[in-house]
């Protein structure tokens, strides 16, 4: 697959993401500069983590108006595949491509540690091939508390748009396992069309055996296998 990784001013997880997608997963990866409107015919767009525009105003609020984002919105609205990780997830929510919003963690601290997430269902390409178990994936964020109105929460739950939930290492979903106060322990969601995905944890940081954790690689492997089946 040809994959484009967007670089905003302040993005800092682009290199790790490109390494995971290219060197580990073997895809063709190109950089997409935020000022260019050209998506270079990629089949998937990835928005990496970081602090685009310094998280000024609100995380992702300014990046969502970059020239590249207009192209991403059109691409997504015609069924193109988009994945946002951490700041990328925040940008996609601000752009209206994903429902909800990411607030400050309820501890109001930046949390950087390994957590466990489990697939919320098997309803979309990102989780259809995953085992119903706890995957250990690191988080590193100050604004990761997922929030949405009660009415829209019911919609996304009923529509299987929640893709991952925070859990403990036994896969139990409870308050103790929720690092940031996200509603319903939501760690990631997708859109109605199930072609746009966002998650706060960083699978690209658990994708290489040299890092001692390949649970992120398992998520990528299952994701790309599922996508092959839909082609």
């Amino acid at each position: 697959m040809k994959i484009g990784v967007i670089i905003f001013p302040g993005s800092n997880c682009d290199r790790d993401m490109m390494y995971a997608l290219e060197n580990v997963m073997g895809h063709e990866v190109v950089e997409l500069w935020h000022k260019d409107a050209d998506l270079q015919n990629v089949e998937m767009v990835v928005l990496p983590g970081g602090f685009s525009y310094g998280d000024y105003l609100r995380s992702g609020a300014i990046a969502r108006f970059s020239p590249i984002m207009q192209s991403v919105i059109e691409f997504a609205n015609t069924g193109g595949l988009v994945l946002g990780v951490c700041n990328g997830f925040q940008v996609l929510c601000e752009a209206g491509l994903l429902p909800g919003v990411l607030l400050h963690n309820n501890s109001h601290t930046f949390i950087c540690k390994n957590v466990f997430i489990s697939p919320a269902n098997h309803a979309s390409a990102i989780n259809s091939g995953l085992k119903p178990k706890a995957y250990k994936i690191p988080i590193a964020h100050g604004e990761g508390r997922y929030f949405i109105s009660d009415e829209d929460l019911k919609k996304i739950e009923d529509n299987n748009q929640v893709i991952f939930r925070y859990c403990n290492e036994n896969g139990e979903i409870n308050e103790a396992a929720n690092p940031n106060g996200s509603l319903n322990n939501i760690a990631g969601v997708c859109n109605e069309g199930k072609n746009v995905f966002g998650m706060m944890p960083h699978p690209e940081r658990a994708a290489d055996e040299n890092l001692g954790n390949t649970d992120g690689q398992d998520i990528f492997i299952a994701f790309f296998e599922a996508l092959k089946l839909t082609v």
């Binding site: 105003l57 607030l103 400050h104 963690n105 309820n106 109001h108 929030f147 949405i148 106060g181």
Partner: protein
């Protein structure tokens, strides 16, 4: 004409505001235990060029709706006054 807008953006009342909660707890440390329910938002000032005050208000409302505030989590209010020319 140039107008100045003063914009206040606050988190929705129903939302937990951990920053405000932490500050509320500190009030006891400065001898003011009677202060409660601190909530913290943003104040933005900007100038807008427009023919009329109504037009200026329209521009500021668009700025608030599109960029300055996220309606899922914030409430936005503003007032506009004409900037006095020297």
């Amino acid at each position: 004409m140039t107008f100045r807008a003063d914009i206040t953006i606050m988190p929705h009342r129903a939302l937990l505001d951990p920053q405000g909660k932490a500050v509320t707890k500190s009030m006891g440390n400065i001898g003011l235990p009677g202060i409660e329910n601190v909530r913290i938002g943003k104040h933005i000032q900007l100038d807008v060029n427009a023919e009329t005050k109504e037009e200026a208000e329209k521009q500021v409302k668009t700025a608030c709706d599109k960029l300055l505030a996220n309606p899922i989590m914030e409430v936005c209010e503003f007032s506009i006054s004409e900037l006095e020319t020297a």
